[in-house]
Protein backbone atom coordinates (compact mmCIF):
# COMPACT_ATOMS: atom_id res chain seq x y z
CA UNK A 1 0.00 0.00 0.00
CA UNK A 2 1.32 3.39 -0.98
CA UNK A 3 1.76 5.88 1.82
CA UNK A 4 1.03 9.54 1.28
CA UNK A 5 3.40 12.27 2.31
CA UNK A 6 7.18 12.53 2.30
CA UNK A 7 9.04 9.81 4.17
CA UNK A 8 11.86 12.20 5.03
CA UNK A 9 9.69 14.87 6.59
CA UNK A 10 11.30 15.80 9.90
CA UNK A 11 14.70 14.15 9.33
CA UNK A 12 16.52 17.44 9.76
CA UNK A 13 14.71 18.24 12.98
CA UNK A 14 15.38 14.82 14.47
CA UNK A 15 19.02 15.01 13.39
CA UNK A 16 19.58 18.41 14.97
CA UNK A 17 17.93 17.37 18.21
CA UNK A 18 19.90 14.13 18.44
CA UNK A 19 23.10 15.91 17.53
CA UNK A 20 22.67 18.42 20.32
CA UNK A 21 21.85 15.55 22.69
CA UNK A 22 25.00 13.69 21.70
CA UNK A 23 27.29 16.68 21.85
CA UNK A 24 26.11 17.68 25.30
CA UNK A 25 25.86 14.18 26.74
CA UNK A 26 28.22 12.98 29.46
CA UNK A 27 28.65 9.71 27.58
CA UNK A 28 30.07 11.48 24.55
CA UNK A 29 32.45 13.51 26.68
CA UNK A 30 33.82 10.37 28.33
CA UNK A 31 34.26 8.67 24.97
CA UNK A 32 35.98 11.69 23.50
CA UNK A 33 38.44 11.97 26.33
CA UNK A 34 39.12 8.26 26.13
CA UNK A 35 39.90 8.51 22.44
CA UNK A 36 41.89 11.73 22.64
CA UNK A 37 44.06 10.60 25.52
CA UNK A 38 44.85 7.18 24.14
CA UNK A 39 45.46 8.53 20.67
CA UNK A 40 47.80 11.18 22.02
CA UNK A 41 49.72 8.52 23.90
CA UNK A 42 50.11 6.52 20.71
CA UNK A 43 51.08 9.63 18.80
CA UNK A 44 53.70 10.55 21.37
CA UNK A 45 55.21 7.10 21.09
CA UNK A 46 55.19 7.33 17.31
CA UNK A 47 56.87 10.72 17.27
CA UNK A 48 59.62 9.47 19.56
CA UNK A 49 60.46 6.56 17.31
CA UNK A 50 59.97 8.45 14.05
CA UNK A 51 62.45 11.08 15.20
CA UNK A 52 65.04 8.48 16.07
CA UNK A 53 64.82 6.06 13.20
CA UNK A 54 63.45 7.24 9.93
CA UNK A 55 64.86 10.59 9.07
CA UNK A 56 64.86 9.93 5.34
CA UNK A 57 61.39 8.42 4.93
CA UNK A 58 59.46 10.01 2.05
CA UNK A 59 56.20 9.35 3.88
CA UNK A 60 57.26 10.60 7.27
CA UNK A 61 53.87 11.95 8.11
CA UNK A 62 52.05 8.72 7.48
CA UNK A 63 54.41 7.08 9.96
CA UNK A 64 52.70 9.16 12.62
CA UNK A 65 49.60 7.07 12.10
CA UNK A 66 51.19 3.68 11.78
CA UNK A 67 54.29 3.56 13.97
CA UNK A 68 53.86 1.69 17.20
CA UNK A 69 56.20 1.88 20.15
CA UNK A 70 55.98 -0.98 22.60
CA UNK A 71 53.93 -1.44 24.69
CA UNK A 72 51.48 0.96 23.02
CA UNK A 73 49.81 0.13 19.70
CA UNK A 74 49.95 2.62 16.83
CA UNK A 75 47.45 5.41 16.33
CA UNK A 76 45.67 3.35 13.70
CA UNK A 77 45.67 0.38 16.06
CA UNK A 78 44.03 2.50 18.72
CA UNK A 79 41.46 3.83 16.31
CA UNK A 80 40.48 0.41 15.01
CA UNK A 81 39.76 -0.52 18.59
CA UNK A 82 38.20 2.66 19.92
CA UNK A 83 36.12 3.83 16.97
CA UNK A 84 33.78 0.82 17.27
CA UNK A 85 33.53 1.49 20.98
CA UNK A 86 32.48 5.08 20.34
CA UNK A 87 30.02 4.10 17.64
CA UNK A 88 28.45 1.40 19.80
CA UNK A 89 28.35 3.83 22.70
CA UNK A 90 26.31 6.25 20.60
CA UNK A 91 24.03 3.72 18.96
CA UNK A 92 23.20 0.97 21.41
CA UNK A 93 20.17 2.71 22.95
CA UNK A 94 19.01 4.71 19.96
CA UNK A 95 15.60 3.10 19.58
CA UNK A 96 15.07 1.06 22.74
CA UNK A 97 16.02 4.14 24.75
CA UNK A 98 13.02 5.93 23.26
CA UNK A 99 10.91 2.91 24.07
CA UNK A 100 12.06 2.79 27.66
CA UNK A 101 11.62 6.53 28.19
CA UNK A 102 8.16 6.04 26.67
CA UNK A 103 8.77 8.84 24.23
CA UNK A 104 8.60 6.72 21.09
CA UNK A 105 4.84 6.57 20.61
CA UNK A 106 4.49 10.25 21.47
CA UNK A 107 7.11 11.30 18.92
CA UNK A 108 5.74 8.95 16.28
CA UNK A 109 2.25 10.36 16.80
CA UNK A 110 3.57 13.62 15.39
CA UNK A 111 3.28 14.02 11.62
CA UNK A 112 6.50 12.19 10.71
CA UNK A 113 7.21 8.67 9.52
CA UNK A 114 9.39 6.23 11.39
CA UNK A 115 11.89 6.50 8.58
CA UNK A 116 12.66 10.04 9.60
CA UNK A 117 13.29 9.11 13.22
CA UNK A 118 15.67 6.24 12.45
CA UNK A 119 17.49 8.05 9.67
CA UNK A 120 17.79 11.21 11.74
CA UNK A 121 19.26 9.27 14.61
CA UNK A 122 21.75 7.54 12.34
CA UNK A 123 22.80 10.78 10.67
CA UNK A 124 23.19 12.56 13.99
CA UNK A 125 25.34 9.83 15.50
CA UNK A 126 27.44 9.56 12.34
CA UNK A 127 27.88 13.33 12.29
CA UNK A 128 28.95 13.25 15.94
CA UNK A 129 31.49 10.55 15.18
CA UNK A 130 32.69 12.41 12.11
CA UNK A 131 33.14 15.63 14.07
CA UNK A 132 35.24 13.95 16.73
CA UNK A 133 37.27 12.00 14.20
CA UNK A 134 37.98 15.11 12.14
CA UNK A 135 39.01 16.96 15.29
CA UNK A 136 41.27 14.09 16.27
CA UNK A 137 42.75 13.92 12.79
CA UNK A 138 43.50 17.63 12.79
CA UNK A 139 45.03 17.28 16.23
CA UNK A 140 47.39 14.59 14.97
CA UNK A 141 48.38 16.56 11.88
CA UNK A 142 48.89 19.71 13.92
CA UNK A 143 50.97 18.00 16.58
CA UNK A 144 52.94 16.26 13.86
CA UNK A 145 53.77 19.60 12.29
CA UNK A 146 54.81 21.06 15.62
CA UNK A 147 56.83 18.15 16.90
CA UNK A 148 58.41 16.91 13.68
CA UNK A 149 58.91 20.29 12.08
CA UNK A 150 58.48 18.79 8.59
CA UNK A 151 55.57 19.80 6.36
CA UNK A 152 53.60 16.89 4.88
CA UNK A 153 53.55 16.37 1.11
CA UNK A 154 50.43 16.67 -0.98
CA UNK A 155 50.09 12.96 -1.53
CA UNK A 156 50.55 12.27 2.15
CA UNK A 157 47.72 14.66 2.95
CA UNK A 158 45.49 13.02 0.36
CA UNK A 159 46.23 9.58 1.77
CA UNK A 160 45.56 10.84 5.28
CA UNK A 161 42.28 12.38 4.12
CA UNK A 162 41.11 9.18 2.48
CA UNK A 163 42.13 7.36 5.64
CA UNK A 164 39.89 9.74 7.58
CA UNK A 165 36.96 9.00 5.27
CA UNK A 166 37.49 5.26 5.60
CA UNK A 167 37.60 5.58 9.38
CA UNK A 168 34.22 7.36 9.32
CA UNK A 169 32.82 4.57 7.13
CA UNK A 170 34.24 2.05 9.61
CA UNK A 171 32.46 3.90 12.41
CA UNK A 172 29.28 3.76 10.33
CA UNK A 173 29.40 -0.04 10.24
CA UNK A 174 29.46 -0.35 14.00
CA UNK A 175 26.91 2.40 14.44
CA UNK A 176 24.50 0.64 12.08
CA UNK A 177 25.10 -2.64 13.90
CA UNK A 178 24.48 -1.04 17.29
CA UNK A 179 21.29 0.59 16.00
CA UNK A 180 20.09 -2.70 14.55
CA UNK A 181 20.42 -4.32 17.96
CA UNK A 182 18.82 -1.32 19.62
CA UNK A 183 15.76 -2.05 17.48
CA UNK A 184 15.79 -5.79 18.11
CA UNK A 185 16.39 -5.80 21.86
CA UNK A 186 14.03 -3.91 24.10
CA UNK A 187 16.59 -3.65 26.88
CA UNK A 188 19.45 -1.23 26.24
CA UNK A 189 21.82 -3.31 28.40
CA UNK A 190 21.16 -6.44 26.34
CA UNK A 191 21.67 -4.52 23.12
CA UNK A 192 24.95 -3.07 24.37
CA UNK A 193 26.23 -6.45 25.55
CA UNK A 194 25.31 -8.25 22.35
CA UNK A 195 26.88 -5.55 20.19
CA UNK A 196 30.04 -5.45 22.27
CA UNK A 197 30.22 -9.23 22.24
CA UNK A 198 29.90 -9.32 18.49
CA UNK A 199 32.51 -6.60 18.19
CA UNK A 200 34.98 -8.54 20.36
CA UNK A 201 34.29 -11.69 18.40
CA UNK A 202 34.70 -10.05 15.00
CA UNK A 203 37.75 -8.04 15.99
CA UNK A 204 39.74 -10.35 18.20
CA UNK A 205 38.58 -13.90 17.58
CA UNK A 206 37.26 -14.19 14.04
CA UNK A 207 40.48 -13.29 12.15
CA UNK A 208 42.30 -16.00 14.05
CA UNK A 209 39.46 -18.46 13.68
CA UNK A 210 39.00 -17.94 9.95
CA UNK A 211 42.11 -19.84 8.83
CA UNK A 212 41.13 -22.76 11.02
CA UNK A 213 37.56 -22.67 9.78
CA UNK A 214 38.61 -22.97 6.15
CA UNK A 215 40.34 -26.26 6.99
CA UNK A 216 36.99 -27.49 8.22
CA UNK A 217 35.15 -26.44 5.10
CA UNK A 218 37.78 -27.50 2.58
CA UNK A 219 39.84 -30.31 4.00
CA UNK A 220 42.70 -31.32 1.75
CA UNK A 221 42.82 -28.05 -0.18
CA UNK A 222 46.28 -26.96 -1.26
CA UNK A 223 48.12 -24.36 0.72
CA UNK A 224 47.36 -21.41 -1.54
CA UNK A 225 43.65 -22.17 -1.69
CA UNK A 226 43.27 -22.51 2.04
CA UNK A 227 45.31 -19.35 2.59
CA UNK A 228 43.14 -17.33 0.23
CA UNK A 229 39.98 -18.94 1.56
CA UNK A 230 40.96 -18.14 5.13
CA UNK A 231 41.59 -14.56 4.16
CA UNK A 232 38.22 -14.34 2.45
CA UNK A 233 36.50 -15.62 5.58
CA UNK A 234 38.46 -13.20 7.75
CA UNK A 235 37.21 -10.37 5.56
CA UNK A 236 33.71 -10.95 6.86
CA UNK A 237 34.87 -8.92 9.83
CA UNK A 238 34.81 -5.17 9.32
CA UNK A 239 37.92 -4.96 11.49
CA UNK A 240 39.85 -6.98 8.91
CA UNK A 241 38.56 -4.79 6.08
CA UNK A 242 39.55 -1.66 7.95
CA UNK A 243 42.98 -3.04 8.82
CA UNK A 244 43.67 -3.93 5.20
CA UNK A 245 42.47 -0.58 3.93
CA UNK A 246 44.68 1.37 6.29
CA UNK A 247 47.57 -0.89 5.37
CA UNK A 248 47.18 -0.09 1.68
CA UNK A 249 46.59 3.61 2.25
CA UNK A 250 49.18 4.42 4.89
CA UNK A 251 51.94 2.08 3.72
CA UNK A 252 52.40 3.13 0.09
CA UNK A 253 54.74 0.21 -0.52
CA UNK A 254 51.91 -2.28 -0.06
CA UNK A 255 51.43 -4.05 -3.40
CA UNK A 256 48.66 -6.49 -2.59
CA UNK A 257 46.43 -7.39 0.32
CA UNK A 258 46.62 -11.12 -0.24
CA UNK A 259 49.22 -13.67 -1.12
CA UNK A 260 51.30 -12.82 -4.19
CA UNK A 261 52.64 -15.32 -6.66
CA UNK A 262 56.24 -14.95 -7.61
CA UNK A 263 55.27 -14.32 -11.23
CA UNK A 264 53.40 -11.21 -10.17
CA UNK A 265 56.58 -9.75 -8.73
CA UNK A 266 58.47 -9.85 -11.99
CA UNK A 267 59.88 -6.45 -12.77
CA UNK A 268 58.70 -4.97 -9.50
CA UNK A 269 61.09 -2.82 -7.55
CA UNK A 270 60.78 -4.04 -4.01
CA UNK A 271 60.09 -1.34 -1.47
CA UNK A 272 59.11 1.26 -4.05
CA UNK A 273 55.91 3.11 -3.16
CA UNK A 274 52.82 2.82 -5.35
CA UNK A 275 51.07 5.94 -6.61
CA UNK A 276 47.99 7.01 -4.66
CA UNK A 277 45.54 5.80 -7.30
CA UNK A 278 47.02 2.32 -7.25
CA UNK A 279 46.92 2.15 -3.47
CA UNK A 280 43.28 3.15 -3.45
CA UNK A 281 42.60 0.59 -6.15
CA UNK A 282 44.15 -2.14 -4.01
CA UNK A 283 41.93 -1.22 -1.08
CA UNK A 284 38.85 -0.41 -3.16
CA UNK A 285 37.03 -3.71 -2.52
CA UNK A 286 37.59 -3.25 1.18
CA UNK A 287 36.33 0.35 1.14
CA UNK A 288 33.24 -0.64 -0.82
CA UNK A 289 32.75 -3.56 1.56
CA UNK A 290 32.74 -1.24 4.57
CA UNK A 291 30.21 1.11 2.98
CA UNK A 292 28.06 -1.79 1.81
CA UNK A 293 28.10 -3.33 5.28
CA UNK A 294 26.92 -0.02 6.74
CA UNK A 295 24.05 0.19 4.27
CA UNK A 296 23.06 -3.45 4.73
CA UNK A 297 23.03 -3.23 8.52
CA UNK A 298 21.10 0.03 8.43
CA UNK A 299 18.52 -1.45 6.09
CA UNK A 300 18.17 -4.48 8.36
CA UNK A 301 17.55 -2.16 11.30
CA UNK A 302 15.15 -0.09 9.21
CA UNK A 303 13.08 -3.12 8.21
CA UNK A 304 13.00 -4.39 11.78
CA UNK A 305 11.92 -0.96 13.03
CA UNK A 306 9.15 -0.66 10.44
CA UNK A 307 7.71 -3.99 11.49
CA UNK A 308 7.95 -3.30 15.18
CA UNK A 309 4.98 -2.44 17.34
CA UNK A 310 5.40 0.93 18.99
CA UNK A 311 3.35 0.19 22.08
CA UNK A 312 5.33 -0.17 25.23
Amino acid sequence: MQRKGKAWRGVGIVTLKELSDHLSSARMRVLEWLVVLTALAALYGAIQSVRNTTAQDPFLFLRLFTTAQEPLPSFVGFLSFLVPLMAIGLGFDAVNGEHNRRTLSRILSQPIYRDALLFGKFLAALATLAVSLVALWLLVIGLGLLLLGVPPGGEEMLRALIFLGVTIAYAGVWLALAMLFSVIFRSAATAALVTLGLWLFLTAIWPALASGAIQLFMPGADQATSLIGGQMLARLSPATLYGETTLALLHPTTRALGPIYLTQLQGAIMGAPLPLGESVLIAWPQIVGLIAATILLFVAGYVAFQRQEVRA
Binding site: R3, K4, I13, K17, R101, S105, R106, P111, E309, R311
Partner: protein
Protein backbone atom coordinates in the same frame (compact mmCIF):
# COMPACT_ATOMS: atom_id res chain seq x y z
CA UNK B 1 -23.06 19.95 13.96
CA UNK B 2 -23.09 16.24 14.51
CA UNK B 3 -20.75 14.87 11.91
CA UNK B 4 -18.62 11.84 12.46
CA UNK B 5 -14.92 12.49 12.99
CA UNK B 6 -13.76 8.97 13.81
CA UNK B 7 -15.29 6.00 12.08
CA UNK B 8 -14.03 2.52 12.83
CA UNK B 9 -15.45 -0.14 10.59
CA UNK B 10 -14.84 -3.75 11.62
CA UNK B 11 -11.31 -2.94 12.73
CA UNK B 12 -9.34 -6.11 13.34
CA UNK B 13 -5.80 -6.72 14.54
CA UNK B 14 -4.18 -10.12 14.52
CA UNK B 15 -0.78 -11.20 15.77
CA UNK B 16 -0.27 -14.61 14.24
CA UNK B 17 -3.19 -16.67 15.46
CA UNK B 18 -4.17 -14.33 18.25
CA UNK B 19 -6.86 -11.79 17.46
CA UNK B 20 -6.35 -8.81 19.73
CA UNK B 21 -9.02 -6.58 18.24
CA UNK B 22 -11.92 -8.37 16.66
CA UNK B 23 -14.22 -6.53 14.24
CA UNK B 24 -14.64 -3.40 16.28
CA UNK B 25 -16.97 -0.76 14.84
CA UNK B 26 -17.88 2.57 16.36
CA UNK B 27 -18.34 6.20 15.43
CA UNK B 28 -17.28 9.27 17.34
CA UNK B 29 -19.10 12.50 16.58
CA UNK B 30 -17.60 15.96 16.67
CA UNK B 31 -17.29 17.57 20.05
CA UNK B 32 -18.10 14.61 22.27
CA UNK B 33 -16.04 12.79 24.85
CA UNK B 34 -16.02 9.14 23.91
CA UNK B 35 -14.78 6.63 26.46
CA UNK B 36 -13.15 3.38 25.44
CA UNK B 37 -13.34 1.33 28.59
CA UNK B 38 -12.38 -2.14 29.58
CA UNK B 39 -9.86 -4.20 31.48
CA UNK B 40 -6.18 -4.24 30.58
CA UNK B 41 -5.53 -6.32 27.50
CA UNK B 42 -9.01 -5.82 26.07
CA UNK B 43 -7.59 -4.22 22.91
CA UNK B 44 -8.10 -0.56 23.74
CA UNK B 45 -4.57 0.66 23.06
CA UNK B 46 -4.25 -1.44 19.91
CA UNK B 47 -7.47 0.07 18.59
CA UNK B 48 -6.15 3.55 19.30
CA UNK B 49 -2.82 2.84 17.62
CA UNK B 50 -4.62 1.64 14.51
CA UNK B 51 -6.67 4.84 14.46
CA UNK B 52 -3.56 7.03 14.32
CA UNK B 53 -1.66 4.83 11.90
CA UNK B 54 0.94 3.59 14.36
CA UNK B 55 -0.14 -0.01 13.98
CA UNK B 56 -1.13 -1.81 10.85
CA UNK B 57 -4.77 -2.73 10.39
CA UNK B 58 -5.21 -6.46 9.70
CA UNK B 59 -8.76 -6.13 8.49
CA UNK B 60 -11.47 -3.50 8.30
CA UNK B 61 -11.05 0.21 7.82
CA UNK B 62 -10.84 3.42 9.77
CA UNK B 63 -11.50 7.03 8.83
CA UNK B 64 -10.25 9.83 10.97
CA UNK B 65 -11.47 13.27 9.88
CA UNK B 66 -12.17 11.66 6.53
CA UNK B 67 -8.62 10.35 6.08
CA UNK B 68 -7.42 6.79 6.08
CA UNK B 69 -4.80 6.40 8.84
CA UNK B 70 -3.21 3.47 7.02
CA UNK B 71 -2.68 5.38 3.78
CA UNK B 72 -2.31 8.94 4.92
CA UNK B 73 -1.01 8.83 8.48
CA UNK B 74 0.74 12.20 8.26
CA UNK B 75 -2.51 14.11 7.69
CA UNK B 76 -4.23 12.16 10.44
CA UNK B 77 -1.37 12.73 12.86
CA UNK B 78 -1.29 16.42 12.06
CA UNK B 79 -4.82 16.87 13.36
CA UNK B 80 -4.89 14.29 16.11
CA UNK B 81 -3.16 14.75 19.44
CA UNK B 82 -2.16 11.54 21.16
CA UNK B 83 -1.30 11.14 24.82
CA UNK B 84 0.09 7.63 25.30
CA UNK B 85 -0.30 5.53 28.41
CA UNK B 86 2.19 6.92 31.00
CA UNK B 87 3.64 9.39 28.55
CA UNK B 88 7.38 9.99 28.52
CA UNK B 89 9.41 13.10 27.82
CA UNK B 90 13.13 13.71 27.44
CA UNK B 91 14.19 14.06 31.06
CA UNK B 92 17.33 16.00 30.24
CA UNK B 93 15.33 18.76 28.52
CA UNK B 94 12.98 21.28 30.08
CA UNK B 95 9.24 21.14 29.50
CA UNK B 96 9.51 24.08 27.10
CA UNK B 97 12.33 22.45 25.15
CA UNK B 98 10.39 19.21 24.89
CA UNK B 99 7.46 21.13 23.44
CA UNK B 100 9.83 23.00 21.11
CA UNK B 101 11.02 19.74 19.65
CA UNK B 102 7.47 18.50 19.08
CA UNK B 103 6.44 21.88 17.69
CA UNK B 104 9.22 21.69 15.10
CA UNK B 105 8.18 18.14 14.20
CA UNK B 106 4.60 19.33 13.76
CA UNK B 107 5.88 22.16 11.62
CA UNK B 108 4.69 25.17 13.60
CA UNK B 109 6.54 28.21 12.26
CA UNK B 110 9.17 29.80 14.49
CA UNK B 111 7.41 32.97 15.56
CA UNK B 112 4.21 31.23 16.46
CA UNK B 113 5.98 28.46 18.35
CA UNK B 114 6.90 30.56 21.37
CA UNK B 115 3.40 31.98 21.67
CA UNK B 116 1.66 28.65 21.38
CA UNK B 117 3.97 26.90 23.83
CA UNK B 118 3.52 29.65 26.38
CA UNK B 119 -0.26 29.65 25.99
CA UNK B 120 -0.54 25.89 26.22
CA UNK B 121 1.63 25.68 29.33
CA UNK B 122 -0.52 28.33 30.96
CA UNK B 123 -3.64 26.45 30.00
CA UNK B 124 -2.51 23.30 31.84
CA UNK B 125 -1.01 25.19 34.75
CA UNK B 126 2.65 24.46 34.09
CA UNK B 127 3.71 27.99 33.15
CA UNK B 128 5.90 28.47 36.23
CA UNK B 129 7.77 25.17 35.89
CA UNK B 130 8.11 25.20 32.09
CA UNK B 131 11.84 25.84 32.26
CA UNK B 132 12.55 23.08 34.74
CA UNK B 133 13.92 19.78 33.50
CA UNK B 134 11.18 17.23 32.94
CA UNK B 135 13.18 14.79 35.07
CA UNK B 136 11.96 16.75 38.08
CA UNK B 137 8.29 16.56 37.07
CA UNK B 138 5.75 14.45 38.91
CA UNK B 139 3.63 11.98 37.05
CA UNK B 140 0.67 14.34 37.05
CA UNK B 141 2.81 17.14 35.65
CA UNK B 142 4.00 14.88 32.83
CA UNK B 143 0.43 14.01 31.94
CA UNK B 144 -0.43 17.70 31.94
CA UNK B 145 2.60 18.43 29.76
CA UNK B 146 1.23 15.80 27.39
CA UNK B 147 -2.08 17.68 27.31
CA UNK B 148 -0.17 20.91 26.72
CA UNK B 149 1.37 19.27 23.68
CA UNK B 150 -2.11 18.49 22.35
CA UNK B 151 -3.27 22.04 23.05
CA UNK B 152 -0.18 23.43 21.34
CA UNK B 153 -0.79 21.20 18.35
CA UNK B 154 -4.26 22.73 18.04
CA UNK B 155 -5.55 19.19 17.52
CA UNK B 156 -9.11 18.63 16.38
CA UNK B 157 -9.17 15.25 18.09
CA UNK B 158 -7.43 14.33 21.32
CA UNK B 159 -6.82 10.65 21.92
CA UNK B 160 -5.87 9.98 25.51
CA UNK B 161 -4.75 6.53 26.58
CA UNK B 162 -5.27 5.88 30.29
CA UNK B 163 -4.79 9.55 31.17
CA UNK B 164 -5.53 9.14 34.86
CA UNK B 165 -3.51 5.97 35.30
CA UNK B 166 -1.26 6.14 38.33
CA UNK B 167 -2.35 9.61 39.40
CA UNK B 168 -3.45 10.46 42.91
CA UNK B 169 -7.13 11.45 43.28
CA UNK B 170 -6.38 15.16 43.33
CA UNK B 171 -4.21 15.05 40.22
CA UNK B 172 -6.67 12.92 38.33
CA UNK B 173 -9.52 15.28 39.18
CA UNK B 174 -7.46 18.16 37.83
CA UNK B 175 -6.71 16.20 34.71
CA UNK B 176 -10.35 15.34 34.14
CA UNK B 177 -11.21 19.02 34.51
CA UNK B 178 -8.62 19.79 31.83
CA UNK B 179 -10.14 17.15 29.58
CA UNK B 180 -13.55 18.78 30.03
CA UNK B 181 -12.05 22.13 29.13
CA UNK B 182 -10.64 20.56 25.96
CA UNK B 183 -14.15 19.54 25.06
CA UNK B 184 -15.54 22.99 25.71
CA UNK B 185 -12.99 24.45 23.32
CA UNK B 186 -14.36 22.24 20.59
CA UNK B 187 -11.97 19.31 20.69
CA UNK B 188 -13.34 15.82 20.22
CA UNK B 189 -11.90 13.56 22.90
CA UNK B 190 -11.46 9.81 22.76
CA UNK B 191 -10.17 8.47 26.03
CA UNK B 192 -9.41 4.98 27.18
CA UNK B 193 -9.36 3.76 30.74
CA UNK B 194 -9.79 0.75 32.93
CA UNK B 195 -10.81 2.95 35.86
CA UNK B 196 -14.52 3.05 35.22
CA UNK B 197 -15.61 5.35 38.03
CA UNK B 198 -13.01 7.97 37.23
CA UNK B 199 -14.01 8.53 33.67
CA UNK B 200 -17.73 8.08 34.10
CA UNK B 201 -18.07 11.71 35.05
CA UNK B 202 -16.57 13.06 31.82
CA UNK B 203 -17.72 10.69 29.09
CA UNK B 204 -20.70 11.46 26.89
CA UNK B 205 -20.69 7.99 25.41
CA UNK B 206 -18.72 4.89 26.19
CA UNK B 207 -17.78 1.64 24.53
CA UNK B 208 -17.03 -1.26 26.84
CA UNK B 209 -14.32 -3.52 25.49
CA UNK B 210 -14.01 -7.15 26.40
CA UNK B 211 -11.56 -9.57 24.78
CA UNK B 212 -11.07 -7.41 21.71
CA UNK B 213 -14.75 -6.82 21.06
CA UNK B 214 -17.11 -4.04 21.96
CA UNK B 215 -19.51 -5.56 24.44
CA UNK B 216 -21.66 -2.49 25.00
CA UNK B 217 -21.82 0.95 23.48
CA UNK B 218 -23.95 3.98 24.25
CA UNK B 219 -24.50 6.66 26.86
CA UNK B 220 -24.22 5.59 30.47
CA UNK B 221 -27.96 6.01 30.93
CA UNK B 222 -28.66 3.79 27.94
CA UNK B 223 -26.27 1.14 29.15
CA UNK B 224 -27.80 1.31 32.62
CA UNK B 225 -31.27 0.67 31.22
CA UNK B 226 -29.98 -2.04 28.96
CA UNK B 227 -27.99 -3.93 31.55
CA UNK B 228 -29.33 -3.07 34.95
CA UNK B 229 -32.89 -2.55 33.83
CA UNK B 230 -32.85 1.08 34.87
CA UNK B 231 -30.65 4.11 34.66
CA UNK B 232 -31.24 5.08 38.29
CA UNK B 233 -31.26 3.22 41.55
CA UNK B 234 -33.11 4.51 44.60
CA UNK B 235 -32.38 3.08 48.03
CA UNK B 236 -35.25 3.26 50.46
CA UNK B 237 -35.00 2.43 54.16
CA UNK B 238 -38.04 2.54 56.39
CA UNK B 239 -39.52 1.16 59.59
CA UNK B 240 -42.86 -0.53 59.62
CA UNK B 241 -45.52 0.12 57.04
CA UNK B 242 -47.68 -2.36 55.20
CA UNK B 243 -47.21 -3.55 51.71
CA UNK B 244 -44.31 -1.20 51.11
CA UNK B 245 -42.84 -3.48 48.49
CA UNK B 246 -45.98 -3.52 46.37
CA UNK B 247 -46.54 0.20 46.69
CA UNK B 248 -43.01 0.95 45.63
CA UNK B 249 -43.28 -1.39 42.69
CA UNK B 250 -46.43 0.36 41.53
CA UNK B 251 -44.74 3.70 41.04
CA UNK B 252 -44.56 4.66 37.36
CA UNK B 253 -41.03 4.34 36.03
CA UNK B 254 -39.89 1.71 38.49
CA UNK B 255 -38.64 -1.36 36.75
CA UNK B 256 -37.91 -3.58 39.67
CA UNK B 257 -37.79 -3.55 43.44
CA UNK B 258 -35.65 -5.81 45.52
CA UNK B 259 -35.85 -6.20 49.27
CA UNK B 260 -32.31 -6.27 50.52
CA UNK B 261 -33.12 -6.57 54.24
CA UNK B 262 -36.09 -6.06 56.53
CA UNK B 263 -36.94 -2.48 55.66
CA UNK B 264 -34.35 -1.87 52.99
CA UNK B 265 -35.44 -1.71 49.38
CA UNK B 266 -33.61 -1.02 46.18
CA UNK B 267 -35.53 0.38 43.23
CA UNK B 268 -34.25 0.31 39.68
CA UNK B 269 -35.99 2.92 37.62
CA UNK B 270 -35.88 5.06 34.51
CA UNK B 271 -36.03 8.39 36.34
CA UNK B 272 -35.65 9.95 39.74
CA UNK B 273 -38.64 8.60 41.71
CA UNK B 274 -37.66 9.84 45.16
CA UNK B 275 -40.75 12.04 45.72
CA UNK B 276 -43.09 9.21 44.73
CA UNK B 277 -41.14 6.70 46.80
CA UNK B 278 -41.33 8.93 49.85
CA UNK B 279 -45.06 9.38 49.29
CA UNK B 280 -45.49 5.63 48.91
CA UNK B 281 -43.74 4.87 52.18
CA UNK B 282 -45.74 7.49 54.01
CA UNK B 283 -48.93 6.21 52.43
CA UNK B 284 -48.08 2.75 53.72
CA UNK B 285 -47.77 4.26 57.20
CA UNK B 286 -44.06 3.55 57.33
CA UNK B 287 -41.34 5.75 58.81
CA UNK B 288 -38.91 6.81 56.15
CA UNK B 289 -35.34 6.79 57.49
CA UNK B 290 -33.24 6.98 54.38
CA UNK B 291 -33.84 7.87 50.75
CA UNK B 292 -30.96 7.95 48.36
CA UNK B 293 -30.58 8.30 44.64
CA UNK B 294 -27.79 6.60 42.83
CA UNK B 295 -27.13 6.97 39.16
CA UNK B 296 -26.14 3.75 37.46
CA UNK B 297 -22.40 3.53 37.69
CA UNK B 298 -20.26 2.13 34.96
CA UNK B 299 -18.73 -0.22 37.42
CA UNK B 300 -22.13 -1.71 38.19
CA UNK B 301 -22.98 -1.96 34.54
CA UNK B 302 -19.68 -3.53 33.81
CA UNK B 303 -19.64 -6.11 36.53
CA UNK B 304 -23.27 -6.95 36.00
CA UNK B 305 -22.77 -7.41 32.31
CA UNK B 306 -19.68 -9.52 32.59
CA UNK B 307 -21.05 -11.45 35.52
CA UNK B 308 -18.23 -11.08 37.99
CA UNK B 309 -20.71 -10.14 40.70
CA UNK B 310 -24.06 -11.56 39.61
CA UNK B 311 -25.89 -9.75 42.42
CA UNK B 312 -24.76 -6.37 41.21
CA UNK B 313 -23.15 -5.63 44.55
CA UNK B 314 -20.00 -3.81 43.62
CA UNK B 315 -17.38 -2.68 46.05
CA UNK B 316 -16.65 0.96 45.43
CA UNK B 317 -13.01 0.75 44.88
CA UNK B 318 -11.27 2.39 42.00
Amino acid sequence: MTDIVIAADRLTKRYGDATVVDHVSFDVTRGEIFGVLGPNGAGKTTTILMLIGLSEISEGAARVLGHDPARDPLTVKRHVGYLPDSVGFYDNLSGVDNLHYTARLIGIPGLEREKRIKASLERVGLADVGHKKVGAYSRGMRQRLGLAEIVMKDAKIAILDEPTNGLDPQASLELLALIRSLKSSGVTVLLSSHLLDRVQSVCDRVALFQNGRIALIGTIGELGRQVLGGGFAVDVECHGGEDVLRRLADIAGVRSVSQEAGGVFRLLCDRDVRPEAAAAVVAAAGKLTRLELERASLEQIYTRHFGDHPTGEVPHAA
